[in-house]
Amino acid sequence: MNSNRREFLALAGAASVAGFAGFNGGRDKQPKAASKLPLAGQTSAVVVVKAASYSKDLADAMLRGILECELDVAGKTVLLKPNFVEFDPNTCINTDVAVVATALEVFRSLGAADVKIGEGPGHRRDTLAIAELTRYRSEIPNFDDVFVDLNRDDVTGVKGFAGRDEFYFPNSVLSADIVVSLAKMKTHHWAGATLSMKNFFGLVPGSIYGWPKNELHHIGIDTAIVELTRAFGPKSFALVDGIVGMEGNGPIQGTRKQAGVLVMGSDLAAVDATCCRIMGIDPTRVGYLQKAADQLGIIEESRIEQRGEAIKGLRTNFELIKEFSQLRLA
């Protein structure tokens, strides 16, 4: 299935939640020829660290990974962007609270001038109630003081995002020196997989674009993921919670899947491609990674410099819904 077709189906599926969005929605120009792409021939580093659970040596594992990535946060303002969307006690939708709490401490310990947590949940209006259910509010010290609801932050217009004359983003995102995409390793029933790039949907303010961020579906899910990465990827760092991920009908109604890893790097596409390989998904068949390849990051396995654990022994196939069965890595 080509990416346009796949994106069209994803859009049609997304639109079916509230109605079909339009026949042309999500269709894109063909990717540029490989030789002309800006990152052609370059390499990226990705670090994979084993982490068997959320309790044991999490800070040490995270710190090792960040240092291995040579990320310099000293004196910088950092916005941690977890994925918390919804709560269901029977599954694991959100970036685990232990990962977020640990990241807060680790980035502070690395000398960041300020570390905030920001998220704009896509479904639910009462963000703090979700934070309560996910135990963010009870287990992250002074959560209300460090948290920014990106759905309802003050905003600034940005020209030219995804072909829009003006698109509004939260000031807390625009002003941060580093955005850390603290994503959850999950399958996704419109996009195939949701990882550090897709996690940026939560940067879009619901106060203007609603719940869910329907404007992004009309831009086209794959295109929107790519454009958000184009806008914020250069100042971002990815840290994917793959200790326990979600397989099947993700990102909300899937089931738990233990992968036992944290995956990190400054090239979000490379991190997501590596996560895909761990999940048994072929990243070259994931629409948004196809579009990002060599434009925004590296997805080719031979050009990703793997640090930490070798991914070969870590692969654990995540169950895929039939609409995405063709993504299975050979």
Binding site: A12, G13, A15, S16, V17, A18, G19, F20, A21, G22, F23, H123, R124, R125, D126, L128, A129, E132, L133, D144, D149, R152, D153, D154, V155, T156, G157, E166, Y168, H189, S207, I208, Y209, G210, W211, P212, N214, E215, H217, H218, N249, Q253, I321, E323
Partner: protein
């Protein structure tokens, strides 16, 4: 108008005191204290404080945000037409201001609908070219133009248009109200409540949420076929940790003549929720959301 209590220790008084103390110099409220004014918290605060000078200042600000097409923008610096037009129309009617600004807002609302109901999509759905979990021929309202329709903006549009229908005689308006109510019933979840837009995704049932269930009940005042939804609403009221959901559930129950549970707790840092909670209080202004009932 209710809502003039000066007892800052009561549930309502504490919330009104917070609102009075956090109004921005421009007359509006941010979602949180000290932040820029936005339409949504300003509108709910203005309704909660209706009759007070603070509400007049808020309305003056909101009035300056009406766009030439009749819609309202969501904040001073955001040049986008917004679903919040419905809330501004409701405020105008609460203030008994039925002049041109309201007429223009109502006209904009009547002409607004989710893109899924465009003729091409309706035909595609009829021909089963795309999977649909709902009847796209039934028009609903989007958060902003060019997007699909969702429960929450549909609810507020229905409340405003049903209120407007008491004085504005228009077949088109009545038709949109009837269709909007039918649309809400069409997207009801199997459990009797409402999710945020559809009862299912990819053929898998979606559960209802307390806040959207409450809002849908608000829009369906006058319907007498909602019994199961109230059983669910009572259960959600006891289970949800969301003060916003509890407040909306309370407002919906009061307007349907159903006795709600007791509200308690301190005001939130979230000023929008504080304002909705103030509306929900027994002596609060929840009746500003009252409509004449189901469309004839």
């Amino acid at each position: 108008m209710a809502g003039h209590t000066s007892d800052s220790k009561s549930y309502l008084g504490a919330r009104l005191a917070v609102l009075r103390n956090t109004q921005n110099p421009d007359g509006g409220w941010g979602y949180f204290a000290g932040k820029s004014s936005w339409l949504e918290p300003t509108a709910y605060a203005a309704l909660a404080l209706a009759g007070e000078p603070a509400a007049d200042r808020a309305w003056k600000l909101l009035s300056s945000w009406q766009l030439p097409d009749g819609s309202w923008k969501p904040a001073a610096g955001v040049q986008v037409s917004s679903w919040g037009t419905s809330l501004c129309a409701t405020i105008a009617m609460v203030r008994d201001e039925w002049g041109q600004p309201l007429q223009n807002g109502v006209k904009w609302l009547v002409g607004s609908s989710g893109v899924e109901s465009g003729w091409l999509n309706v035909v595609a759905a009829r021909l089963r070219l795309v999977r649909q979990e709902r009847d796209v021929a039934l028009k609903s309202w989007p958060w902003k133009p060019g997007n699909s329709g969702w429960v929450e903006p549909t609810v507020h549009a229905l409340v405003a248009l049903k209120q407007a229908s008491s004085k504005i005689s228009s077949g088109e308006l009545r038709g949109r109200v009837q269709m909007g109510e039918a649309q809400l019933m069409d997207v009801r979840s199997r459990d009797g409540g409402w999710n945020y837009g559809s009862p299912a995704a990819l053929g898998v049932d979606l559960p209802s949420y307390p806040e959207t269930t409450a809002l849908a009940l608000l829009a369906l005042q006058g319907h007498d076929d909602l019994g199961k939804a109230f059983d669910l609403a009572r259960r959600q009221m006891g289970e949800t940790p969301s003060p916003m959901a509890r407040a909306w559930l309370t407002i919906a129950m009061r307007l349907h003549g159903v006795k709600p549970g007791e509200l308690n707790g301190d005001p939130q840092s979230d000023l929008m929720i504080t304002a909705i909670e103030a509306l929900a209080a027994p002596e609060g202004n929840y009746h500003v959301m009252r409509t004449a009932g189901a469309a004839a």
